[in-house]
């Protein structure tokens, strides 16, 4: 599986890949968060490039307090230090308070081309919010058309949405194969694939995913099962080492509720309906992130459902420190898991594991218990 090396190379050093793409004449549009309607960026002929940032923050300290999460600090650092100088523009969807303010600070200080705010609705479960979602998507199309000096037709958007449906279907297939037999593929590999898929030229990605998934199915039949089945839950999980540590501690990751995971790959766009409406529909109806509102219990219910469906013995919550929306949901979600007899543990991380030993010890103790 040669493509695995490619996924790892891109996931490990996305900025380098971004620069290569830029040299080949591509337009590259940076974006935050899985709520960015990427389909539109792709339909505009540009490569959507998710911004994760990097560690060793120094320049960003002049703009963001120490009680900001490592994602926004690292991202701003990347922008201010010139790491993202290949971008033609950056897109900020409205999600949490931190990303909201990061957008302002970025617009004032960073030099990454055009700046578009996609001010999405926060509640998603009413008729007027769904209408507003569609209005915002239309506005985003106008904004990006203007910024890139192009026009996006309904057919462009349909073609782009079709590609995303295929990409998401392949990624989901990989998730399903792993859940069936976690020994088939390492979770750090799955993470690298998902992460790389957020930077790659999407046509190349589709080609690689197609052959990779086929190989995976063939190889999968030869290997044995192993490890205690766990589901991971939280926001961004950008630490490949976490997966390795969980597996080394005797765990097998079978599913997740991450925005760098299942929340990114769920939700198909209906290509036969009005393409604008159905694109908007995906963002109103996909699995909700805690910064959005869609009723009082859906996140807890969803977590219980994926834990049960995937036969998980436990759930590991991995939160970025200072992530308010996830921390607010934790007590009720844990309680719902408790009621179902599903044990869980919480671990807060920053851009680096505070102490690998600490996480490993806790992880081993948890896995022994379940």
């Amino acid at each position: 599986m040669n493509n695995l090396a490619l996924f790892h190379r891109i996931a490990k050093n996305p900025d380098e890949y971004g620069r290569e793409l830029k040299k080949s004449g591509r337009k590259i549009v940076g974006y935050f968060c899985s709520y960015t309607p990427e389909e539109i960026i792709l339909a505009a002929g540009a490569v959507p490039f998710r911004i994760f940032g990097k560690g060793d923050v120094s320049l960003a300290d002049a703009h963001l307090q120490a009680y900001s999460c490592s994602l926004i600090r690292g991202a701003l650092e990347d922008a201010l230090s010139g790491g993202l100088d290949f971008l033609d523009g950056a897109v900020f969807p409205h999600t949490c308070d931190s990303i909201q303010r990061l957008s302002d600070i970025w617009r004032i200080n960073a030099n990454t081309g055009f700046h578009i705010d996609v001010v999405l609705p926060v509640k998603l479960d009413t008729k007027s919010s769904k209408e507003y979602m569609a209005d915002v998507i239309k506005k985003f199309i106008r904004d990006i058309e203007k910024s890139l000096g192009i026009e996006i037709s309904a057919d462009d958007l349909r073609a782009s949405a079709g590609k995303y449906n295929q990409i998401r279907a392949y990624l989901k297939k990989i998730y399903e194969i792993r859940s069936k037999n976690p020994a088939v593929i390492r979770s750090s590999d799955v993470h690298a694939i998902i992460k790389a898929s957020m930077f790659m030229d999407r046509d190349l990605l589709l080609k690689e995913l197609a052959s990779f998934t086929e190989d995976l199915q063939i190889e999968g039949e030869k290997m044995k099962q192993g490890g205690k089945r766990v589901v991971l839950a939280g926001g961004v999980c950008n630490l490949p080492d976490i997966y390795t540590l969980i597996e080394d501690s005797g765990g097998a990751v079978v599913w997740d509720d991450f925005c760098t995971g299942s929340r990114y790959i769920e939700g198909e766009i209906d290509l036969s309906a009005d393409i604008l409406e159905s694109t908007a529909g995906r963002y109103s109806e996909r699995i909700v992130c805690p910064a959005k509102h869609s009723g009082l219990f859906p996140r807890g219910e969803h977590l219980v459902k994926i834990a049960k469906e995937n036969n998980a013995k436990g759930v590991i919550f991995l939160f970025l420190k200072f992530c308010d929306p996830h921390s607010f949901d934790y007590p009720y979600m844990k309680e719902m898991l408790d009621k179902e007899g599903i044990p869980s543990m919480l671990f807060e991380v920053e851009d680096q594991l505070p102490s690998e030993g600490q996480f490993k010890t806790r992880c081993e103790a948890f896995l022994e218990m379940i």
Binding site: A62, H63, L64, Q65, Y67, S68, H94, C96, D97, S98, Q100, R101, L102, S103, D104, I105, R107, I108, N109, D117, V119, P121, V122, K123, T126, S128, S129, E131, Y132, D135, V136, K138, K139, P290, A291, H293, L296, F297, F319, K321, F322, D324, P325, S327, F328, D329, Y330, P331, Y332, K334, E348
Partner: protein
């Protein structure tokens, strides 16, 4: 307050604002009425501080403010205990201390007033933060009551036509929600009246704050933190008009008689962010000892800052914009412009910024605001790291040193 056996200091007595007594009476009566709602059969709505209270007044619903409750918890120094309780419930210490202390209060009827009256409904407007959304979800699950969310899209650089349409639609949905919960129709004539009263109240509050433009200032931001409670809780009622009319008169009299908030006001400062509720007295005295008066702040003026978008003759039609464009729901650069306007209006010599761990929408971006203000007005600024309710995040000696150093810079100019 005086210690036993000592005669009150006439100098201090002179400076005390007489309206305070009246204000305490109004707030006490308000809480008594709210706490006895179960007996009187009135409905209670919990609402966010930036939320549209006017329709509640029209529907005879008693509005109750968990954020005001948070401030009371902070001021009565009960924050640490309640915050720790919430941490035992599983809430991270990094979360907003208003939310944490209120969430911990609910199951035990704790805090300075034995808990808030049980809500019949929750009204959450996210124009101040995303935290209130999560906080109100927690309380909606706990109390099992209907939750209405007024979603006010963030105005980074504009209030878009799309957003205007969406918020305006939600105003209608809000009224329908209240009609459903109360089982009665909204009286739109009364709505028009309440809207006018709200606008008048906001104008009066602005006039009260404006008196501090006088040198020396008859009131300080610390006074404003206290007198703010009415424009937050009872906006849209005659009570607010009567009270602020009296307060405004008192401020004008103080100007005429030369009574200032700080005895020898030499330095005029602007405060940014929420108060440090458990340290207001200490901070007030600390600055006064340097002959510095905090003459204005971005916080208390937020309840009248978007008046320009509201047409009092079409309150319901224009409140969507008014509520969407408040100070915390706009971009950092526009906030910096507002701060600069205030520096000019109140002729401030410096800006004191509270970097508040509890409030990301208010605090993230402050470093840029600080830089912009310094560049455009060339005045010194001070950043204080603290928290509005959780005293564990307040280092008195460190902050004292920083205030002293900042005042030295000001004095040397």
């Amino acid at each position: 307050m005086t210690t036993e056996g000592q005669a009150p200091d006439p100098e201090k007595e002179k400076r005390k604002i007489k309206s305070v007594k009246k204000m305490k009476e109004i707030m006490t009566n308000y809480y008594i009425e709210a706490k006895s709602a179960e007996q009187t059969g009135k409905k209670v709505a919990w609402i966010t501080s930036g939320g549209p209270v006017e329709p509640l007044i029209v529907m005879d619903i008693i509005p109750v403010y968990p954020e005001n409750h948070g401030a009371m918890i902070g001021a009565s120094k009960m924050g640490v205990d309640l915050c720790e309780k919430s941490e035992q419930m599983g809430y991270s210490r990094d979360l907003c201390s208003y939310a944490r202390s209120d969430i911990a209060c609910a199951p035990v009827n704790g805090g300075p007033i034995g808990g808030l009256p049980r809500p019949d409904m929750l009204v959450c407007c996210n124009n101040i933060c995303g935290t209130v959304l999560k906080w109100y979800e927690v309380q909606a699950r706990y109390f099992n009551v209907p939750l209405f969310i007024l979603d006010t899209p963030f105005c980074h650089t504009e209030f878009s036509d799309e957003a205007r349409k969406y918020v305006r639609k939600q105003v209608d949905e809000y009224i329908e929600f209240l009609e459903m919960v109360c089982g009665k129709k909204c009286d739109f004539d009364r709505m028009a009246e309440v809207g006018k009263l709200s606008v008048r109240g906001q104008r009066l509050w602005q006039e009260v704050l404006d008196t501090a433009a006088h040198k020396p200032a008859p009131m300080s931001a610390f006074d404003a933190f206290f007198h703010l409670a009415l424009i937050v809780t009872l906006r849209g009622t005659q009570t607010v008009i009567d009270y602020y009319t009296g307060l405004l008169e008192e401020m004008r009299e103080r100007i005429t008689s030369g009574i200032s908030a700080v005895p020898d006001e030499k330095y005029r400062l602007l405060w940014d962010n929420l108060p440090v509720w458990y340290k207001t007295k200490w901070l007030s005295e600390k600055f006064a000892a340097h002959d510095a008066c905090l003459v204005a702040d971005t916080y208390t003026s937020a309840w009248c800052g978007s008046l320009k978008y509201i047409d009092e003759n079409d309150f319901l039609g224009t409140m969507a914009e008014g509520y969407s464009r408040i100070y915390l729901n706009i971009g950092v650069d526009e906030m910096a412009e507002t701060v600069i306007e205030m520096v000019d209006k109140y002729d401030a010599d410096g800006v004191v910024m509270h970097s508040n761990r509890s409030c990301k929408p208010y605090s993230l971006g402050q470093y840029d605001i600080q830089r912009i203000v310094q560049e455009k007005r060339e005045i010194p600024t001070l950043m204080i790291e603290a928290d509005m309710v959780d005293e564990r995040s307040f280092s008195e000696s460190q902050i004292e040193t920083r205030i002293d150093a900042f005042m030295e810079v000001l004095k040397a100019r």
